[in-house]
Every structure is written in structure tokens, then in C-alpha cells.
């Protein structure tokens, strides 16, 4: 395959896999509640995920060691085990939220019972991960997730005030009616940041780089793919905020369900827009469900030193295969138990931000160690930006749980 085609496919895959159910719910919700005034958080989160995504890919390409190898080496068994359990719990909740999101969308399309659809979703995802090679899983969900671009088209067709949209990218705290509104604003800012910088993205990206056999000479390509893919991906998130701000806010609709976002394409493009939006959500959530199930298996196998990788047949990495099957099974059981999927989304997003510092610290230390990285070590600006974002996510982590409790999940 030519280098150009490889980069092009990489960018499209990164873009299509950018949005998942948590990001969708919080982006549309942010727009519906606060207009464009949280767009700067989308931009900030995108910069953060580009920074750490690039670092994860670079460390993996140079050292061939994924993140939980570093966590184990740097933090040891005892501390590392805590990180592993927390990371896998978050991936499990995220995976459950995605399966719940898919079931909601499928119910909107078919009218079939929610629990039956959750079981069918589970079986379909199980078959896809079992039979498909890593590259095809990545491309299948990434490329079909591009249907989500319908939200950008809808945002443009809603004719927003582009001056106001642009002003939203400037960090700000808008003037709100009451003190509790400021708390809800802070809750949405923290959750939106977390939903964009979800920790599984870096775990999965680093493991994927090793699955794809990246070499150090591919570091520049990694940089282009991550930057372009994630910037275009965040355009989808911006589209969702605009749909929320331009369409739902004036109508006073508080989008509690993923389907509310589809009102944008439905309003601007009719039935066709609605169908494309729902299909886009299906594949975007499906991709995230698979990535989180695999992430749980990657983390466990890498931490405990088991053979791992989708490039091996299940018989060649049996405990790894069992681990992702267990992840998918537990995730669907959470949904079948009747837990509200949107509540699962909220918890997964808030717990994600709690473990972000534990994810980024070992990565930042490995990428900044010249003995490990040689010529590919972090340069000055990357180091400064890395520590800035580490401080930022630590701060966000400190406030995440109190804000969730105080604002009752933004429903104050």
C-alpha cells in the first residue's frame, strides 16, 4: 500500500473513531445548555488527545512496548494493579454505555425490545472481534463511523452565527443566571474534556501501533495521522455542539438520550439525514465498544505478561481472547441488569477523568526519557505541553466527582 493511501486511511479511521456515546451526549448537551460557550473545551481536549495520542504511538513505535508494560515497570505490581483495575473498570463502563447506546439507536430504528437488541448487539460484536483481523475491525468501524459527518453538514445547514461560534473557542466563563448554573457549566466542562481525552484511546492507540507493526521511521506518519484525524474528528464534536446550541437550546430540549442528537440531521435533511445519523451513531458506538473490550484485554495481558494481540489467532493468545470476551459479556450484563445507559455514560466519563493522570504520567515519563527514546525523545515544547495537560487533567480529576454529586449529573 502506498504511504499516501496509508496516511489517508489512518486519518479517516482516527476521525471516524473519535466520537462515542459519552462525547455525543455531552457535546449535544453542552450546546443545548450553554450554546457555544464550551467550544473552547472541545479545542483544549483535542489538543490534549493529539499530544498524548502522538506520544503513545511514538513510544510504541520506538520501544515496541505498550502502556501497561510501562505502568508495570515504572509503578511496580502493587501500584500498577490499582491503575489496571481502575482503567479496566472505566473501559468496562464505557463498553456497557456503548452497547446501551447501540441498543437505544436500534430500538429507534426497529421498535424491537431493548434487552433483545442488547443481546443481538453483543453477539454481533463478539463475532466481529472473533473473526475479523485487527486492521479490518479498525477500518470497518472507523470508515463507517464517518457517516457521523452528517452532523457537521446539519450544523452548517442550521446556519449558526459563525461569529458566535468562533467566539466560543476563546476560553471563557459566560454570565449565567444563578450560582448552580456555574456548577453545571463546570460539570459540563470537566465531562466534555474527559469525554474527548478518554484514557482508553491512548491505551488502544499504542497497542494498535504494535499490532500494526509500526517502526521508528513511521513516527512522522503517526504525527500526521493523529493530528489530522483528531482535528477532523473534533469537527464532528463541534458539529454536535452546534446542533445542540442552534436547534435544541431555543426549543428548550434537554437531550438526555443519544437519539436527540439525530434531530439535527432529521430537521435539516429529512428522513435520509435521520437514517444516516442513526447509522453513523451505530458504527461510532460499535467501534468504541469493541475498542474498550479490546483495551481491557490489552491492559490485562500486558500487565501480567501474557501473549496478546489480535494478530495472533485466539488459540495463540487464549487468555487475551478470553479477557475481551469477558469484557463484552460483563458489559452486556450491566445493560441487561436494567442500569440506565446514560447513567453508565456519566459514571464512565467521570471515572475516566479520575484515572487520566495515572495513564498520562508513565507515558510522559517514558516519552521524555532519552535512554529509552533516543532521538525520538519529547522535545521542549512537547514536554511543557505534556506537564501542562497532566496538571489540567489532575485538576479536572479533583473536581469531577464532587461536581457529579453536587449537580446530580448536570441535572440541577
Amino acid at each position: 500500500m502506498s504511504a499516501f493511501l496509508q496516511i489517508f486511511l489512518g486519518i479517516l479511521t482516527a476521525m471516524g473513531g473519535f466520537v462515542e456515546v459519552g462525547e455525543l451526549v455531552f457535546s449535544v448537551g453542552a450546546g443545548a445548555k450553554f450554546g457555544y460557550s464550551l467550544l473552547w473545551v472541545v479545542a483544549l481536549g483535542t489538543l490534549g488527545i493529539i499530544l498524548f495520542g502522538e506520544m503513545a504511538g511514538r513510544v510504541a513505535a520506538v520501544t515496541k512496548q505498550p502502556i501497561f508494560d510501562w505502568v508495570r515497570e515504572r509503578a511496580g505490581f502493587r501500584m500498577g494493579l490499582g491503575t489496571l483495575l481502575a482503567a479496566n473498570l472505566v473501559s468496562l463502563l464505557t463498553c456497557a454505555a456503548e452497547i446501551g447506546g447501540i441498543s437505544i439507536v436500534l430500538r429507534m430504528m426497529s421498535g424491537w425490545p431493548y434487552r433483545l437488541l442488547a443481546i443481538l448487539t453483543f453477539l454481533a460484536l463478539l463475532a466481529i472481534v472473533w473473526f475479523f483481523a485487527f486492521k479490518w475491525i479498525e477500518r470497518f468501524f472507523g470508515l463507517l463511523g464517518l457517516l457521523m459527518t452528517v452532523f457537521v453538514i446539519a450544523a452548517i445547514r442550521l446556519h449558526p452565527d459563525w461569529h458566535a461560534v468562533g467566539a466560543g473557542f476563546v476560553p471563557q466563563v459566560p454570565t449565567l443566571e444563578s450560582p448552580k448554573d456555574y456548577l453545571v457549566y463546570a460539570y459540563f466542562a470537566v465531562s466534555l474534556l474527559s469525554s474527548i481525552m478518554l484514557p482508553y484511546e491512548t491505551y488502544f492507540y499504542a497497542s494498535g501501533a504494535i499490532e500494526d507493526g509500526w517502526q521508528p521511521h513511521e513516527v512522522p506518519m503517526n504525527r500526521i495521522v493523529v493530528t489530522m484525524g483528531f482535528v477532523l474528528g473534533s469537527a464532528l464534536a463541534v458539529g454536535l455542539v452546534i446542533v445542540g446550541g442552534q436547534l435544541l437550546k431555543p426549543l428548550g430540549i434537554d437531550p438526555q438520550w443519544p437519539g436527540a442528537a439525530a434531530l439535527g440531521p432529521a430537521f435539516t435533511m429529512g428522513r435520509a439525514g435521520l437514517i444516516v445519523a442513526l447509522l453513523g451513531m451505530l458504527f461510532a458506538f460499535g467501534g468504541a465498544a469493541v475498542e474498550n473490550a479490546l483495551t481491557g484485554a490489552y491492559n490485562t495481558a500486558q500487565f501480567l505478561g501474557w501473549p496478546w494481540g489480535k494478530w495472533r489467532k485466539p488459540a495463540g493468545a487464549p487468555r487475551f481472547a478470553l479477557a475481551w470476551i469477558v469484557m463484552l459479556t460483563l458489559a452486556v450484563l450491566i445493560i441487561l441488569a436494567g442500569v440506565n445507559p446514560i447513567q453508565v455514560v456519566e459514571y464512565s466519563i467521570v471515572f475516566s477523568v479520575l484515572i487520566l493522570p495515572l495513564t498520562y504520567l508513565p507515558l510522559l515519563m517514558a516519552a521524555g526519557d532519552r535512554r529509552i527514546m533516543g532521538a525520538y525523545v519529547n522535545n521542549g515544547p512537547t514536554k511543557i505541553a505534556g506537564w501542562f495537560f497532566l496538571a489540567l487533567v489532575t485538576l479536572a480529576g479533583l473536581f469531577a466527582l464532587p461536581l457529579l454529586v453536587v449537580t446530580r449529573g448536570g441535572k440541577l
Binding site: 508495570r72 500498577g80 501480567l304 505478561g305 501474557w306 501473549p307 489467532k313 485466539p314
Partner: protein
């Protein structure tokens, strides 16, 4: 002895940094556990010498607080394997062994899981 003098003592080997918790690879470069503990002996002249490494849940759980280690051992077993020092071929970021994991008796859980999973379509 002052710290500065310590550094001049050859050969210096940082067991914790270079060995503990590193990935083990068998003769076929297949992952076969982590270095969960290191056996060290004091020689007659008073120097320290690494003589073996340990891998397996039993050795790993020793690093947990007592009550947690007891629970973990009850659920996941106490199995750990001693690998004599001469079995180590290369020490880099990953530790390469001279024999296969099967010959060393490592990862029996992997082999029994493989036997079970191999029966499913598309597993091989």
C-alpha cells in the same frame, strides 16, 4: 562507604530497575510472564549475586498487603516458578530466556485455555 564510592564498584546492576516487573520472553519470543521476584545470595566475599528469578501469581501477590495477598492467593492460586539465572539469555527491556515456556513449565493456564479455545471455529 559513601554513595559516590558505591557507584565506582564494578559491575553495578540495578535489580529493581533492570529486572523487576520486566516482560519475560521464551526461546520463541512468546510472552511468558513478568519478573515477579529476584533471588539474591551473599557470596563468601560479601558481594551480592542474583541467582534466579521468580514468575507467577504466587510471587507477584507477595508484593500486596498481607490480607489482600491472602485473598488473591485463594482466588488465583499460589503458583510461582523459579527460573535459574543461567536460563536467562538476554537482559534488555524484555528478558529473553533460553528455553520455551512449555519446557520451563511456565503458563500452564495459557496451555489449558488454548486447548479449550482451539475447539471453537476460527480459533486457529
Amino acid at each position: 562507604m559513601k554513595p559516590a564510592d558505591l557507584r565506582q564498584r564494578p559491575p553495578f546492576f540495578d535489580v529493581v530497575r533492570m529486572l523487576m516487573d520486566h516482560q519475560l520472553l521464551d526461546a520463541d519470543y512468546v510472552e511468558c510472564g513478568k519478573v515477579d521476584d529476584v533471588e539474591i545470595e551473599i557470596t563468601d566475599d560479601g558481594t551480592l549475586r542474583a541467582t534466579a528469578i521468580f514468575t507467577g501469581p504466587g510471587a507477584a501477590f507477595e508484593h500486596l498487603p498481607g490480607w489482600l495477598a491472602a485473598i488473591a492467593k485463594k482466588f488465583f492460586g499460589k503458583r510461582s516458578k523459579r527460573i535459574p539465572w543461567p536460563e536467562i539469555a538476554i537482559i534488555e527491556s524484555r528478558i529473553k530466556l533460553r528455553s520455551t515456556s512449555e519446557a520451563l513449565g511456565l503458563d500452564p493456564a495459557d496451555r489449558s485455555a488454548a486447548r479449550w479455545i482451539s475447539k471453537l471455529p476460527g480459533a486457529r
